[in-house]
């Protein structure tokens, strides 16, 4: 097994008496796309800031490329392409100045690739960042985050508040980054349909804890929606291990379930019910069920 790109162990972070990250562990192997999913304020950005070394671990360890991002910011940050939610760029720069400036920091900067992206994103190189639309600014940020083909691309809510066309550009960028083999992506989003399209792995974060962290396929296969038909009408839903949410009345009850189909059949049988219908869940439904149940 290769050395993991990111290895976080038992990370704890408190702001005042609010626990922003609670014993978080996460490993990201090279070549994977990790989608970080959670509500606003769940701790996604805090986690990403630890990866960038902008927050120092209070407890636990953070290793990126096997290095500590706090004590070796140069070594870590020069291999990371980063785009934040707000852009957070010096808006007095012009696009071509931003490119020239960024190029100096990264030995792997590819001028031709940068020019190609410039044309693809239809950016005016003479335009000042402050005069550009939010979407164009994000594209400019994406350009300088990608043009040196970083080993790790970190995107924090890259597409929030942007129009669908910019979002598609950003997703395309993620896909191209991993298609160049060996590159890794960590991105957070609350647009679950995007995550479902591009992620290999997902982590669902809630209140600073990681609820689920697994292969997207595994997560999808282990969640299903089923309709149970009971012999007698029930006034409230029965207890069933693995069930997340319930709805229904009388004899027919619908539930979301975490586990494999066979164990559900067995559990239903014990309750004297029959599984009359089952279907897969979209990531969004899984998220709602998991977060609702937690």
């Amino acid at each position: 097994m290769n050395e993991p790109i990111i290895e976080i162990k038992n990370l704890v972070r408190e702001f005042g008496n609010k626990r922003a990250l609670d014993n978080v562990s996460m490993t990201i192997q090279p070549g994977t796309v990790m989608g970080l999913v959670g509500e606003n304020g769940a701790g996604k950005t805090t986690l990403i800031k630890h990866v960038l070394g902008l927050l120092k671990a209070q407890q636990g360890t953070v290793k990126v490329f096997g290095m500590d991002p706090v004590s070796n910011p140069e070594g870590v940050l020069s291999k990371i392409g980063y785009l934040s939610e707000e852009g957070d760029m010096p808006t007095w720069m012009k696009v071509h100045e931003l490119m020239r400036y960024s190029a100096a920091f990264y030995p792997t900067w590819d001028d031709q690739y940068a020019m190609k992206l410039l044309e693809e994103f239809k950016l005016d190189p003479g335009a000042k960042l402050s005069k550009m639309s939010k979407g164009q600014r994000s594209r400019a940020g994406l350009l300088v985050a990608m043009a040196y083909r970083p080993e790790l691309l970190v995107l924090d809510e890259p597409s929030s508040g942007l129009d669908p066309i910019v979002r598609k550009d950003i997703l395309g960028a993620i896909i191209r980054t991993i298609a160049d083999d060996g590159r890794t992506v960590l991105f957070s989003s609350h647009l679950l349909s995007e995550v479902e399209r591009v992620a290999d792995q997902i982590s669902i974060v809630r209140n600073g804890k990681i609820l689920i962290s697994d292969n997207l396929d595994t997560v999808k296969e282990s969640h299903l929606r089923a309709t149970l038909l009971f012999e007698e009408p029930l006034s409230r839903h029965p207890d069933l291990a693995g069930s997340l949410t319930w709805s229904g009345s009388g004899k027919e009850w619908q539930l979301t379930y975490c586990g494999d189909g066979k164990s559900l059949d067995a559990a239903a049988k014990l309750l004297g019910a029959k599984v009359i219908e089952r279907a897969g869940l979209s990531l969004e439904e899984i998220f709602v069920a998991q977060v609702g149940a937690a």
Binding site: F15, L52, G53, L54, L55, K56, Q58, V70, S71, P73, E74, V76, L77, S78, I80, Y82, S84, E86, D88, M89, P90, W92, M93, K94, H96, M99, R100, Y101, S102, A103, A104, F105, Y106, D111, M115, L118, E119, D124, P125, G126, S130
Partner: protein
């Protein structure tokens, strides 16, 4: 009327904290005037208090201009979101303008009246009219959608000195104050009209467009990038710092030079003898135009002062306003903490050098100006048709050159020191530190000044004597040395400071100290008997060491603090 009240209310709502602060300062200033009671006892206190009064008016100007865009904006700087208010354009324009005028007039008159009461020579009306006209002018200028980028800045730089000039000139020529005030009133009224026209245009989305810039195409960048590439990350970061914070000091110095130039190069007879050097080799003294003798030393003195103001935070910042952490862009630079600070120090040095370069050009411009030569023995002007350049040449000797060079070295060092003084407070991301530090320092200086110049009821100075002062300075130096050692120890352990950097810093520091001591030695040397006596002997090694160390410890501790604060704030632990 309701509209007027709503707008005035919104100004109050948005700036209440500042307005209260400013009002408080007005009261404080009034108390200072009352306390001084028409005497000359505390000139420093009076000067500092007055400088802050100017800052108050600058802040007020900002508030009434609604200035929240950058000065380079091509369109109107009037906030566009207000265009959607259900108000007539004249209300949008005249309410803030009138409020501003009323506030400026009433507060200004109250202050000048008060000062006039104690110092009968002090003028009452025209200074107030002048600041009011300045406000109206800036409002008109910034709200007018001139299509040229930075035209607002350029016009301000030209317009303000012109306005001041056309007030001072007539007054100097004994034109009555009433006429000057009438003229200023006219200026104010025309500014109202211009502002109205400008905002009306901006509200319809119109702009006076003049496109001058050549279009930048990808092909051009590609060609440029070949030779415009930065040689290293450090070079790129230096460029960033220069564009981010380095330009402000040269710009301000240029502004002062341009203001002074209006008056400086006017012939009004000669004053003199002006020299810090005694007579030249022919036993003659130089005489120059009065404004040159007044403004030239002022310019030299101004640069470190402006650097201090800029250094204390009057510049662009890398700190986010919302949560006081770094802009992620800045924090995520792949560069070590020490590297980031180093580039800031370089930027400060370059900024200081450029500022002094501007002063140098200004002084070069003086060289061909006519000067006169005065004979001390006969008490007559010998030659009226020499130039400043020829006069300087008559002084040239190795000692004079060495003295001049060491002076230039010291003032540049001082400018740089003043520039970097606030880095650590800014990088800490702590608001109270950032604003508290300069205010606290000024309060401390005033306190020390008052303490040192204390007089007994009989008028005898009762402050510490010279030896005691030296002892106090030494004690402070020891404290700083302890602080510096602690910081170096910490940073060596945490890896922020590498032994190599420390060694390089130590060598640089020693070199600086040596050159400082040489410079000090020149001043306390044989040609300065009056200073040399202070050190009991001349030239004095220990004396120059005291001064050298005292000057140097401050930047050393500040740099270490800056690195420490950057480290803390960039990788926050709490």
């Amino acid at each position: 009327m309701i509209a007027a009240r709503t707008l005035a209310w919104s100004i109050w709502q948005r700036n209440s904290r500042w307005l209260i602060l400013i009002a408080g300062y007005f009261v404080f200033y009034g108390l200072v005037i009352v306390r001084l009671n028409g005497t000359d006892n505390h000139p420093t206190l009076f000067a500092v208090a007055s400088v802050f009064l100017i800052f108050c008016y600058l802040a007020l100007t900002g508030i009434f201009m609604y200035q929240d865009t950058d000065v380079g904006v091509r369109g109107s700087a009037y906030p566009t979101h207000m265009f959607t208010l259900p108000l007539r354009t004249y209300q949008l324009v005249f309410v803030p303008m009138l409020t501003g005028t009323v506030v400026f007039l009433s507060s200004g008159l109250a202050i000048t009246k008060l000062i006039h009461g104690y110092y009968p020579d002090f003028p009452v009306f025209w200074p107030v009219m002048l600041v009011t006209a300045t406000l109206a002018m800036l409002q008109a200028l910034f709200w007018y959608p001139l299509g040229v980028p930075y035209s607002k800045l350029v016009l301000t730089l030209i317009g303000l000195p012109t306005l001041v000039y056309y007030v001072c000139m007539p007054l100097a020529d004994k034109v009555s104050e009433l006429i000057v005030c009438e003229y200023l009133g006219l200026v104010i009224l025309s500014c109202y009209a211009i502002a109205y026209h400008g905002v009306a245009m901006a509200r319809q989305g119109k702009i006076q467009l003049f496109s001058l810039k050549p279009k930048i195409t990808p092909a051009r960048i590609h060609k440029q990038s070949k030779w415009l590439k930065f040689s290293s990350p450090a070079a790129a970061q230096r460029w960033y710092e220069w564009r981010q914070q380095g330009l402000i000091l040269p710009c301000l110095v240029l502004f002062c030079c341009s203001i002074f130039s209006v008056e400086m190069f006017r012939e009004r007879g000669y004053v003199g003898p002006v020299t810090a050097q005694g007579p030249n080799k022919d036993g003659l003294y130089p005489m120059v135009w009065p404004m040159i003798s007044a403004y030239a030393p002022l310019l030299v003195f101004l640069v470190p002062v402006i650097a201090l103001i800029v250094g204390c935070g009057a510049r662009r910042t890398d700190i986010k306003h919302s949560d006081r952490t770094f802009l992620l862009f800045f924090g995520a630079r792949p560069m070590s903490d020490g590297g980031l600070v180093a580039q800031k120090l370089w930027m400060a040095l370059k900024s200081s050098l450029v500022a002094w370069g501007i002063i140098l050009v200004q002084f070069m411009a003086m060289l061909p100006i006519r000067a006169a030569v005065w004979d001390a023995k006969t008490q007559v002007i010998v030659d009226q048709d020499t130039t400043i350049f020829r006069m300087l040449v008559s002084y040239l000797n190795p000692q004079f050159i060495a003295l001049t060079l060491s002076f230039i070295f010291v003032v540049i060092l001082l400018t740089w020191r003043n520039f970097i003084i606030g880095f650590w407070t800014e990088l800490s991301g702590k608001t109270w530190l950032r604003y508290g530090y300069p205010i606290g320092s000024i309060a401390l200086y005033i306190g020390v000044d008052v303490f040192l110049t204390r007089r007994s009821p009989g008028g005898q100075p009762i402050g510490p004597n010279f030896e005691q002062t030296v002892m106090i300075i030494w004690a402070i130096n020891v404290l700083r040395a302890i602080l510096a050692t602690t910081l170096i120890w910490r940073q060596l352990r945490s890896g922020v400071l590498t032994p190599r950097t420390l060694l390089r810093g130590a060598i640089l520091g020693s070199l600086l100290l040596a050159s400082l001591m040489v410079a000090v030695w020149f001043y306390t040397g044989s040609n300065r008997p009056e200073i040399a006596t202070i050190y009991h002997s001349s030239p004095n090694f220990a004396g120059s060491l005291v001064i050298g160390l005292t000057v140097l410890w401050t930047p050393i501790v500040r740099i270490l603090m800056a690195t420490e604060m950057l480290h803390q704030n960039r990788h926050r632990a709490t």
